[in-house]
């Protein structure tokens, strides 16, 4: 009978036993990690129909439930991942932080000591102990860089090890979860929806531990199994199928395929958990810190090296590099590595050369070959993903691309679509830096150039070498000397010329010459014209500076042409590849002077030109006695004692204000007179004299010309306007008085009286009166010309012949009678002319080129493609003060200048220079790293503390739902025990009723 009391009692006992067992289970598992408390749920047996009603049949155990909230559990798992990731990150970054912070092991003290030694050396550059200190401090700095690199690098290696350990752990946990999945799916009671509570707890706990290592997404399946995904949805566990995570080095992690083969790289999609923390740290902080440190090392080494090369050592030799590691082969070939290349192929060979530390960034770069496979690739900056350069290997190797201060050259190898190479220009900078100089005497602290004044300067000009521009310049080609040493001679207070001082007794002009350079007193002037990149072109064409003479003698000053043809000069601007960017053209007219050509060229962009003219007079021979010898230079006439010899002519030219102000000077050493025009105007020379007189000329290109006198010129003549062939009557309408002067002689008064009926008589009378006047017999010749007009002619010819009539104003009797009004006239000489044109010296800016379209092979002013020399001198001088005309200054090589500190001063200045542009100086960059890491660490600490708080909260919530409260369980124990006792009492009563019935029957 199911309704028997005893059964009811027994059912109660059994139920309470189960409840007690469950409470006991809860109590004993109160501190089990991940345990969810269980509750029994009891239900009454289905009642039995007994006619009048239903009779209950006791209690039965319905099920044992887990009191769990999946949402709370999931939340705990998520927060665990987040917290674990941040905690790991903080731990790692804390180590870097400590390295940078330490006063003793940080970089700043070593940098300061090194520059301090340089400053000390600037006070005493020749002292060996001071130099030795620089070397040992440089050594200290290099080892500090190397040590810091090693610390950070070993952390990187440690990270790789951690990644390995963590992936192994993930795989272990995955295996465990897979097995549990299996057991849960095949557990008894599955079909009726009964779940194995404790197995679920264990699986949950394993999942939580997995979440500590990597962030996971859990998706429940229908059969109670859980599928686990990581990253961006890649499956890790499906049922009992587990895929393996592997750390393959270089911070990369792969997720294997279902069949066990190696799958794809998932590093970038992993977040959260320890793995996420490691990856985030490695990519976000460690790489950045190493790159920044490397950039400082490279910037320092490069700047110090560059400056050091421009100085000279104690032995007078140019300094080499102080530090290695910037662009040595060992460094450049290791800055690029393969990330992802086609399987089975060997990585290609890439070199990375640093061009300009100022433009370096702190990012890594990637070369990504186009998937299409046509050989084109892009250079991508990793920090912001921008493509900074593009190139192609299709045109043949080697090929280069440049960006951000460095150049990547692909030297050799095979490349396929999709290949990726990692380019890290600054990553190993702190490892590669090494010291090259070992000996104190090899430090180049002095400037190679010495400048000073020569003896006897009157002004207050002071010259100092200010910079060395390029030690590869021909000026420094010979060891221990300047080629050429220069003499800077002031021709006036505000202008100077630069000469070749190789022979101090005879300074020579440079080729092309540099004259007439302006100086501004009172400011700092840079003396040497031309800057780096400029080139200088001199006119060297066939026509230039040729002596040309007029074909025949001319009356009066008619200049000979200078022999220049018309031509077009082109100034072309080309870029480094020969591609034309622009052309300017200048049309030069025939016979144009050097000055005009230079002015025309200077008006063009990128060009400045000067001109000057020189010619030598080699001899003066005054052989003839008839016509006096006269030499005319640019309109100024020299005769008499001035032309006795070359010396006298030179002196006379020097004293002539008109010529001096036109820039024309003459120097004679007795054998040769050098005539020059500083402005490039044509030099027009004329000679008048007897045919036996001769003047020898020589042009700068060696051509010679002899000018001979052209004989007498014409005399001075005054011609009347009235026909007097019928004579004239002076008796009426007088008085007929006039004054006459002739041939530079005195003026005499002539009075005419009488009447002369014929032209001849008139002429004779006038002649007689003039001859008798004291003017000198025969000096004035009177005649009538073909039209009967009165002609007074001087005896002297050329400039010697003058005639001047006075007292015959218009309308006066004398004027009417003679038909001539008052006036003077001078005779004209006969001249032979020679002209020499100026040479042009052109200074072209960088990228500008000069060419002409001259048709002859020998060229006009320039040859078609004239040769160029460098426009600069390789160094620069500055002058202050007020020099006077005549002062001169010389430059020479700084031999024995061991106490000169110009170069070490410049090296010390690197400390405060803004090496990295807007990123500041070396120290600013270091402070940047400290702040960068410090700020990240500080942020990480805040984030971690916040996530710890969130994790604690979600744990608290889960516990409040699923955690065991011992007091509660204790109360339950009491309750269930009482119920058990009560049920036992029911069984006792049932036994009593049975006993009673038994006694009745027996």
């Amino acid at each position: 009978m199911g309704t028997s009391l005893i059964n009811i009692g027994v059912s109660g006992l059994k139920a309470q036993q189960a409840a007690l067992a469950t409470a006991g289970h809860n109590i004993t598992n109160a501190s089990t990690q991940g345990y969810t408390r269980q509750r029994v749920s009891l239900e009454a047996h289905p009642p039995q129909y007994a006619g009048a009603g239903y009779i209950g049949r006791g209690v039965t155990l319905a099920t044992v439930t887990r009191v769990a909230n999946d949402y709370a559990t999931n939340q705990v798992r998520l927060d665990t991942s987040v917290f674990s990731g941040l905690d790991t990150f903080l731990d790692q970054i804390g180590q870097v932080d400590a390295v940078l912070a330490d006063d003793l092991s940080g970089l700043a003290p070593a940098l300061q000591t090194f520059f301090g030694a340089l400053q000390a050396a600037s006070s005493d550059p020749s002292s060996i102990p001071t130099r030795q200190l620089v070397i040992s401090d440089a050594n200290g700095l290099v080892s500090r860089f190397n040590t810091m690199y090693e610390r950070l690098n070993s952390q990187q290696r440690g990270l790789d090890q951690q990644l390995l350990t963590s992936t192994v752990r993930v795989n272990e946990l995955s295996q465990g979860i897979g097995r549990l999945n299996d057991r849960i799916a095949s557990a008894d009671g599955r079909s009726i929806g009964v779940v194995p509570n404790d197995l679920l707890d264990q699986r949950e706990e394993l999942l939580r531990q997995l979440a500590e290592v990597v962030d996971v997404k859990v998706v429940p399946q229908n059969d109670g199994q859980l599928s686990v995904f990581i990253g961006k949805g890649q499956p890790l566990i499906i049922g009992n199928q587990v895929r393996a995570l592997r750390a393959i080095g270089n911070g990369q992690i792969t997720l294997g395929n279902a069949d066990g083969s190696q799958g794809q790289i998932v590093t970038d999609s992993i977040a959260g958990g320890q793995l996420g923390g490691f990856v985030e740290f490695r990519n976000g902080v460690l790489d950045g810190a190493l790159n920044q440190l490397g950039r400082i090392a490279i910037g320092l080494a490069d700047s110090i090296n560059r400056q050091h090369r421009n100085g000279v050592t104690l032995e007078g030799e140019f300094g080499g590099d102080v530090f290695a590691g910037v662009n040595d082969r060992a460094a450049t070939s290791q800055r690029a590595s393969a990330v992802n290349i086609a399987p089975g192929y060997v990585p290609g060979q890439l070199d990375v050369v640093i061009d300009s530390p100022a433009q370096l960034s702190t990012s890594d770069y990637e070369i990504r070959f186009d998937r299409v496979g046509n050989g084109s690739f892009a250079l991508v900056r990793r920090d912001d993903g921008k493509v900074v350069a593009e190139g192609s290997v299709g045109q043949g190797l080697p090929t280069s691309v440049s960006a951000d201060g460095f150049t990547v050259t692909i030297q050799a190898g095979q490349f396929h679509g999709g290949d990726r190479y990692l380019v890290q220009p600054t990553h190993s900078g702190a490892r590669d830096i090494a010291q090259l100089i070992g000996s104190a005497a090899d430090l180049a602290f002095s400037s190679p150039v010495r400048a000073g004044s020569t003896f006897g300067n009157q002004g207050s000009g002071v010259v100092t070498p200010s910079a060395v521009l390029d030690i590869a310049h021909p000026s420094f080609a010979v060891k221990g000397a300047l080629t050429p040493p220069l003499l800077i001679r002031f021709t006036s207070d505000t202008s100077y010329e630069i000469l070749d001082n190789s022979d101090p007794s005879a300074p020579r002009p440079l080729q092309p010459p540099l004259r007439n350079l302006p100086y501004v007193p009172g400011i700092e002037n840079s003396l040497l014209p031309g800057s780096l990149g400029q080139t200088r072109v001199g006119s060297n064409g066939g026509n230039v500076a040729r002596l040309t003479s007029g074909a025949a003698p001319t009356l009066g000053l008619v200049p000979a042409p200078n022999g220049y043809d018309a031509e077009q000069i082109h100034i072309t601007r080309m870029d480094a590849n020969g591609f034309t960017l622009g052309v300017q053209s200048l049309t030069v007219a025939a016979d144009a002077s050097g000055r005009v050509i230079a002015a025309g060229l200077s008006a063009l962009t990128g060009v400045s030109a000067t001109a000057q003219t020189t010619v030598d007079i080699t001899s003066i021979n005054n052989n003839g006695a008839g016509v006096p010898l006269a030499i005319v230079v640019n309109g100024v006439r020299f005769t008499g004692p001035d032309v006795v010899s070359l010396d006298t002519l030179a002196d006379a030219i020097g004293h002539n204000a008109a010529l001096t102000s036109a820039g024309i000077t003459a120097r004679s050493d007795g054998a040769r007179l050098q005539l020059s025009c500083a402005y490039g105007d044509d030099l027009n020379l004329y000679i008048s004299g007897d045919p036996a007189d001769r003047v020898g000329l020589a042009g700068p290109k060696g051509d010679v010309l002899t000018l001979t006198g052209a004989g007498a010129g014409v005399n001075a003549q005054l011609v009347g306007s009235v026909d007097r062939s019928a004579g004239f009557d002076f008796t009426t309408g007088g008085p007929y008085t006039f004054d006459l002067a002739v041939d530079h002689g005195p003026s005499k008064t002539i009075t005419m009286t009488g009447s002369y009926p014929s032209g001849a008589a008139l002429v004779a009378a006038l002649q007689g009166a003039i001859d008798a006047s004291g003017i000198g017999a025969g000096r004035v010749l009177v005649s009538l010309d073909g039209g009967g007009r009165m002609v007074f002619a001087s005896l002297g010819s050329g400039a010697n012949g003058t005639l001047s009539l006075a007292g015959a104003a218009a309308g006066s009797p004398a004027a009417i009678a003679l038909g001539i009004t008052s006036g003077s006239i001078t005779g004209e000489d006969n001249y032979r002319a020679a002209t020499i044109g100026g040479s042009v010296s052109v200074l072209l800016d960088a990228d500008y080129h000069l060419s002409t379209d001259s048709t002859t092979v020998s060229g006009n002013i320039f040859t078609q493609a004239p040769p160029t020399v460098r426009g600069d001198f390789g160094y620069q001088l500055t002058m202050t003060g007020r020099p006077r005309g005549g002062d001169s200054f010389e430059t020479s090589f700084n031999d024995d200048g061991v106490s000169d500190n110009a170069n070490v001063l410049a090296m010390a200045e690197v400390q405060t220079r803004k090496l990295f542009g807007k990123d500041g100086s070396l120290f600013d960059a270091y402070a940047n790293i400290v702040e960068f890491v410090g700020a990240r660490a500080s942020q990480a600490r805040i984030d971690r503390d916040a996530s710890e708080g969130m994790l604690r909260q979600s744990i608290a919530r889960r516990e409040s739902i699923s955690g065991v409260n011992l007091d509660e369980e204790a109360a339950d124990l009491i309750r269930f025990e009482q119920a058990y006792n009560a049920a036992a009492r029911v069984v006792a009563v049932a036994r009593d009723t049975f006993d009673t019935l038994f006694r009745l029957v027996s």
Partner: protein, 414 residues
């Protein structure tokens, strides 16, 4: 809300852990004296500290430079002072020599003292610093600046560069002055000249030029600023095949007077353009000797000419006239020399002043920077210790309350 037993314990422990962590941090601050242990604690302050340290180190270096500059400039000043004293004494002797009462013998004894003074002067001009560098040699610090050449004249073998040293970030001071400016390029009363052999002369031939004298001042004045060059020509130019030379002007190479292909014999005396000089040795073809005129005369030259004159000039009237002229010129040139030295001393004084004020500036800024550094980096003990007290108290309270609560359980009453 329900609280699991584990939570009661966990919360209590969490709180104790948190407070312990803070307490440990405070304790570290107190024991290290630093308010932040790593840059993470205060990244901005950490970066600023790096920069402040760098600035302090720079200023320290500048101060060291200033010390170096000051000590060297003071040495220079004291040497120049001694030089001035010597020149002053020579001036007195010059004035004394002008006394008509003196005999030739007296003058000779004056000349002897002047010779001693000259040596003293040379010694001072060749002074060295403590490190063995010559003070007035410009950048040729290991070369004695004032040396006698083969003709017995004192020439300057240094150069004119000034060494500069950084005393602040933006300014530098010259640490030396060239002997050229101090002693050689002294403005002279009358036009003077200098003579030297060209660098390219044959060394073995030992050709030399010396004992130059002005015999016609007006001619020399007219020659200035031009110079003369004595060129030895090929023996073939001389009818006897002897060595011969030509004297030309430097500016245009014109022959001076009739000094064309003059036959040469060793020790020959030549007069050109008012200058007299002697040629020695066996110069070969191509050797050149340069004579430059100038308006400067080195102080040693002045003094030596004085001594020579005192020794040579006799009692005759023309000699006496020459002597008077010499004494006049000497006085003028000595005054100019002392002026030149005084000018430089004034500059040196100004530089010392600049160095002083720069040092003062550095000191002030250093104090400020150290102060700021301390504010950023050092812990405020008062605050830290009171924090320590508070945190210890809180920790104690947490521990005790935990102990109390953990003892409560229903099982104790069962």
């Amino acid at each position: 809300m329900r609280i699991a037993s584990s939570q009661i314990y966990q919360q209590g422990i969490n709180n104790m852990i948190d407070v312990s962590r803070q307490l440990a941090k405070t304790q570290q601050q107190i024991s290290s004296g630093r308010s932040f242990a790593t840059p993470a604690d205060d990244p901005v302050a950490a970066a600023r500290v790096v920069q402040l340290n760098q600035e302090l180190a720079l200023r320290d270096q500048y101060r060291k430079n200033i010390e170096q500059v000051s000590s060297q400039l003071e040495l220079e000043d004291s040497v120049l002072g001694q030089v001035t004293d010597v020149l002053q004494r020579i001036r007195e002797l010059t004035v004394q020599a002008g006394d008509g009462v003196l005999t030739q013998q007296d003058r000779v004894s004056l000349a002897t003292e002047i010779a001693t003074r000259t040596d003293e002067l040379l010694g001072l001009m060749n002074s060295r610093t403590a490190t063995g560098e010559y003070l007035f040699a410009g950048s040729r610090g290991q070369t004695q600046p004032f040396q006698r050449n083969s003709a017995g004249e004192v020439v300057f073998a240094g150069d004119q560069s000034q060494r500069r040293v950084q005393i602040t970030a933006s300014s530098s001071l010259a640490i030396n002055d060239s002997g050229r400016r101090l002693f050689t390029d002294v403005p002279s009363v009358a036009t003077t000249f200098s003579m030297r052999g060209a660098p390219g002369n044959d060394q073995e031939a030992r050709g030399a030029i010396g004992q130059g004298k002005v015999v016609d001042q007006a001619a020399v004045d007219a020659l200035f600023p031009d110079g003369l060059i004595v060129e030895f020509a090929s023996p073939g130019a001389d009818p006897d095949g002897q060595p011969n030379f030509t004297v030309r002007r430097v500016s245009d190479h014109r022959v001076v007077g009739d000094l064309l292909n003059v036959p040469y014999s060793a020790g020959q005396s030549v007069i050109a353009n008012g200058l007299q000089f002697n040629l020695y040795g066996n110069p070969v073809e191509g050797d050149q000797f340069l004579i430059a005129t100038g308006r400067t005369q080195s102080v040693v030259s002045t003094v030596e000419q004085l001594a020579e004159g005192l020794n040579e000039f006799g009692e005759s009237a023309p000699d006496q006239a020459e002597l008077q002229r010499l004494l006049e010129h000497t006085l003028g040139n000595l005054d100019h020399s002392m002026d030149a030295i005084l000018k430089v001393r004034a500059e040196v004084g100004a530089r010392l002043n600049t160095a002083d004020s720069a040092a003062g500036l550095h000191q002030d800024v250093e104090v400020l920077s150290k102060d700021l550094l301390s504010k950023l980096r050092d812990v405020d003990y008062a605050q830290a210790i009171s924090q320590l007290d508070l945190q210890s108290f809180v920790l104690q309270a947490a521990q005790q309350s935990y102990a109390r609560i953990s003892g409560l359980s229903l099982f104790n009453s069962l």
